[in-house]
C-alpha cells in the first residue's frame, strides 16, 4: 500500500491526479476504465451470483413458502410460517445451547493458546522459534475429515495411545466417551488442534510487524521479557486478537462435520440434530421440509453475516481506508 502512495507522489502529470480532473479526455478514459473493469469482473460476478447471491435469494423465497404435507401437497405462500416452525421446533434452542456450551470452553482456550503460543514463538528468535512454529502448524494441515479420523484414533478406548488413560477414568467404549457432557471437551480438542497453528502464524505476523525500536526502547527503560509481552506486544496486537476471536466465533455457528460424525461413530450416543446446521440438514433431508431448512439457513446466515460485518468494518486488516487516499 505504501508503494502505491509513493507512486502517486512520483508521477506528477495531471493524468495521475485522479478524481479532481474533469476534462473530456479524462471522461472518456473513465468510461473505458469502468467498462474494462466490469468485463474483467464478469467471471467472478457470474460465480458470485451462482454460488452466493442466487442461492441466498432463492432460500428467502423458499422460506416464505408453505411446506407441502401429505394431506395438502400443494405449496404456496406461507409467510413466516416456516420461521415459526423452525423457532418453535423442540430441538431449535437446544442446538444453540450446544454450540454455546462448546464455545464457552473452546473460545477462551483457543484465544489463550493462539496469543500465548504466538508470544512464546515471538520471544524465541532464531531457529528454535521457527521450528516450534512449524510444529504447531502441522496439525492445521490435517483439516476436516483427516483431523476427525485422527481424533477417533486418539479417543478410541482400546486402540488409542491414550487407552490406559481412558480405561483409568472408566471409559470402556466410544459410547461412554462421546456423550453430551463430554462434547464441549471433545470438540474443543478437535478444533484447537486443527485451528491454532494457522492463527499462531497470523498473530505472529502481526508481532513481526512491530518495529524493533519499540522493543529496544523498552529494554533501555528496564523492561524484561514479561513486561515486553504484557505491556507492549499484547496491546499492539489487539486488532489481530479481535479478528481471530470473531472469526472463530463465526466458525462456531457452522460446526457440522465433527458432531455429525461423532454421532456416527458412537452409535447415536449424541443427538442427530446436535448443532444448528445439523438441524437444517435434518429439515432438508429427513423431513424434506425445504421451507424450514431454508428458514434455518437464513437465521444462521443473519448471525454469521452480522459477525462478518463487524469483522470487515472493525478490523483494519483489509487496507481499505488507506486505499481511499489514493
Amino acid at each position: 500500500m505504501s508503494s502505491s502512495t509513493l507512486a502517486t507522489k512520483r508521477t506528477e502529470p495531471p493524468a495521475a491526479g485522479g478524481r479532481a480532473s474533469t476534462t473530456p479526455r479524462r471522461h472518456r478514459t473513465r468510461h473505458a476504465e469502468s467498462r474494462g473493469a466490469w468485463i474483467l469482473l464478469a467471471p467472478y460476478l457470474a460465480l458470485f451470483l451462482v454460488a452466493a447471491a442466487i442461492p441466498i435469494g432463492y432460500a428467502f423465497w423458499i422460506a416464505l413458502q408453505k411446506a407441502p404435507t401429505l394431506v395438502n401437497p400443494a405449496s404456496g405462500f406461507g409467510g413466516l410460517d416456516s420461521f415459526i416452525t423452525v423457532i418453535t421446533d423442540y430441538r431449535f434452542s437446544g442446538t444453540f445451547i450446544n454450540i454455546f456450551s462448546v464455545m464457552i470452553v473452546w473460545l477462551p482456550l483457543m484465544m489463550l493458546g493462539i496469543v500465548g503460543l504466538a508470544l512464546l514463538v515471538h520471544a524465541s528468535p532464531g531457529r528454535f522459534g521457527s521450528t516450534m512454529r512449524f510444529f504447531y502448524f502441522i496439525p492445521g494441515a490435517l483439516s476436516g475429515i483427516a483431523n476427525f479420523v485422527l481424533w477417533v484414533y486418539l479417543l478410541h478406548p482400546t486402540q488409542s495411545p491414550l487407552a490406559p488413560l481412558w480405561q483409568e477414568v472408566g471409559f470402556g467404549s466410544l459410547k461412554e466417551i462421546v456423550t453430551d457432557g463430554n462434547m464441549p471437551m471433545i470438540l474443543t480438542g478437535m478444533l484447537f488442534f486443527q485451528g491454532v497453528g494457522t492463527w499462531i502464524i497470523v498473530v505472529n505476523g502481526g508481532l513481526n510487524g512491530i518495529p524493533d525500536e519499540i522493543f529496544e526502547a523498552a529494554k533501555i527503560d528496564g523492561a524484561n521479557a514479561w513486561d515486553l509481552a504484557w505491556h507492549i506486544k499484547l496491546p499492539l496486537i489487539r486488532p489481530w486478537i479481535g479478528y481471530a476471536a470473531l472469526m472463530n466465533l463465526a466458525y462456531g455457528f457452522q460446526l457440522f462435520l465433527e458432531p455429525y460424525l461423532l454421532r456416527q461413530i458412537s452409535s447415536g450416543a449424541i443427538a442427530g440434530e446436535w448443532a444448528p446446521t445439523q438441524l437444517g440438514y435434518a429439515f432438508a433431508f429427513t423431513n424434506r421440509n425445504f421451507p424450514a431448512a431454508a428458514a434455518l439457513s437464513i437465521i444462521l446466515l443473519v448471525i454469521t453475516l452480522s459477525i462478518g460485518v463487524v469483522i470487515v468494518m472493525k478490523s483494519g486488516l483489509f487496507g481499505d481506508e488507506k486505499e481511499k487516499k489514493r
Binding site: W38, P43, Y44, F48, V50, S124, Y136, A146, S297, R326
Partner: protein, 309 residues
C-alpha cells in the same frame, strides 16, 4: 531477527524464565506431533498387532509394508462388485478440486486486479461483499446451495460442486492485496498512455507479474476444495459413484466393525483402525504434493519487487 541476538533479554544465559519458556514450548510441540506420528504409524500396522498391544511406543514397532499391502486390499476392495470405490472417489475429488481451482483462478485474477487498480462505480460495495463472503463460514450456504441445485435437478452430479467451489472470495482478496502491494498505479497509467486497453493491460502487464499469487490462490483453493465436506455431503451423497474422498472416508468409517458391527458384518472387507488410518493418509497425499509444490511461494512471502523500475 537472528542478528539482534546480543541485545535480546536472556539470550545468552539460562535464566529460570528462559528454561520455563523452552520447556513449555517443547511439551506443547510434543503434544501436537506425537499423535500425528502415532496416527501415521497406525496406517502401517495390523489389526492383530493393535489388539495384541505389542507394537511398543506409539505402535512404531508394529509397522511393516506387508500390513500396508493388506490394508490397501481391504480399502480397494470396498464397494459393490469387487470394489474400486476408493480410487473412484479420489478421482472425483481431483476433478472437482482441480476444476474448482481453475475456475477460482480465472475469476479471481481479473476481478482482484480490477478491484485494486481500476476505478468504477460499485467498487466499494463489491469489495465489501467479497470480504464478507470471505469471512463467512461456507457451510452456512450449503442448504441454500442444495435447494438451488435441486431446483435444476443436478443433485448427485459433479459439475455443480466444481462450479460452486470456483467461487473463492479469499482468492479474489489475495489477488487484490497482491496488486495493491506490488503493482504501482503508475504502471497502469503508463500502459494507458501507451494505448493499451484495460483488458490488454491486465493480460500483458498485470498477469506476467502474478506468478506468486497464482500459486497462492491455486494452493488455498485446492486445499479448501479437497477438504470440503458439507457441500459434497449435501450434493453428492445420493450418488455413491460420484462421492468425493472426504465423504467417501465417512462411508468407510460407517462400514467399520469398530463403529457399526451390523453393517460391517455384511461386507467382504474389514476396515479396522489401520485401514482407516491408511485411507486417511492416502487421501492426504495430493494435499502433500500440492503443498510441497507451492511451498516456495508460500514461504517466500509477498516480496515480488519486479516492478520497481
Amino acid at each position: 531477527m537472528s542478528n539482534s541476538a546480543p541485545g535480546v533479554v536472556g539470550a545468552k544465559h539460562w535464566t529460570v524464565g528462559r528454561i520455563a519458556r523452552i520447556t513449555v514450548m517443547v511439551i506443547i510441540a510434543a503434544a501436537f506431533i506425537l499423535p500425528i506420528i502415532g496416527f501415521i504409524a497406525m496406517a502401517f500396522r495390523s489389526q492383530e498387532g493393535v489388539l495384541a498391544g505389542t507394537d511398543g511406543f506409539l505402535g512404531l514397532g508394529g509397522m511393516s509394508w506387508d500390513n500396508v499391502v493388506f490394508s490397501w486390499s481391504q480399502i480397494n476392495g470396498f464397494g459393490p462388485g469387487g470394489g474400486g470405490l476408493f480410487t473412484r472417489w479420489v478421482g472425483n475429488s481431483l476433478v472437482v478440486a482441480v476444476i474448482g481451482g481453475i475456475l477460482a483462478l480465472v475469476a479471481a485474477l481479473p476481478a482482484g486486479y480490477a478491484l485494486s487498480r481500476l476505478r468504477f462505480r460499485g467498487r466499494k460495495v463489491l469489495l465489501f461483499a467479497t470480504l464478507l463472503a470471505m469471512v463467512m463460514p461456507n457451510t452456512v450456504l450449503v442448504i441454500p446451495l442444495f435447494l438451488e441445485v435441486n431446483a435444476i435437478g443436478a443433485v448427485g452430479q459433479l459439475w455443480p460442486v466444481a462450479v460452486i467451489m470456483g467461487f473463492f472470495p479469499f482468492g479474489t482478496y489475495l489477488v487484490y492485496i497482491h496488486f495493491m502491494t506490488t503493482m504501482p498505479q503508475e504502471l497502469v497509467e503508463a500502459a494507458r498512455i501507451d494505448g493499451l486497453s484495460e483488458i490488454a493491460t491486465f493480460f500483458y502487464v498485470a498477469l506476467p507479474i502474478s506468478k506468486q499469487v497464482i500459486a497462492l490462490v491455486a494452493f488455498f483453493s485446492f486445499v479448501a476444495n479437497w477438504t470440503n465436506f458439507f457441500l459434497p455431503l449435501a450434493l453428492l451423497t445420493s450418488n455413491q459413484e460420484n462421492k468425493t474422498i472426504s465423504i467417501g472416508i465417512q462411508e468407510l468409517i460407517g462400514a467399520s466393525p469398530l463403529f457399526n458391527a451390523t453393517v460391517a458384518a455384511g461386507l467382504d472387507v474389514k476396515l479396522y483402525m489401520p485401514q482407516l488410518a491408511l485411507a486417511t493418509f492416502l487421501s492426504m497425499i495430493p494435499l502433500l504434493i500440492v503443498f510441497l509444490t507451492a511451498q516456495r511461494f508460500l514461504i517466500r512471502g509477498q516480496t515480488v519487487g519486479a516492478v520497481k523500475g
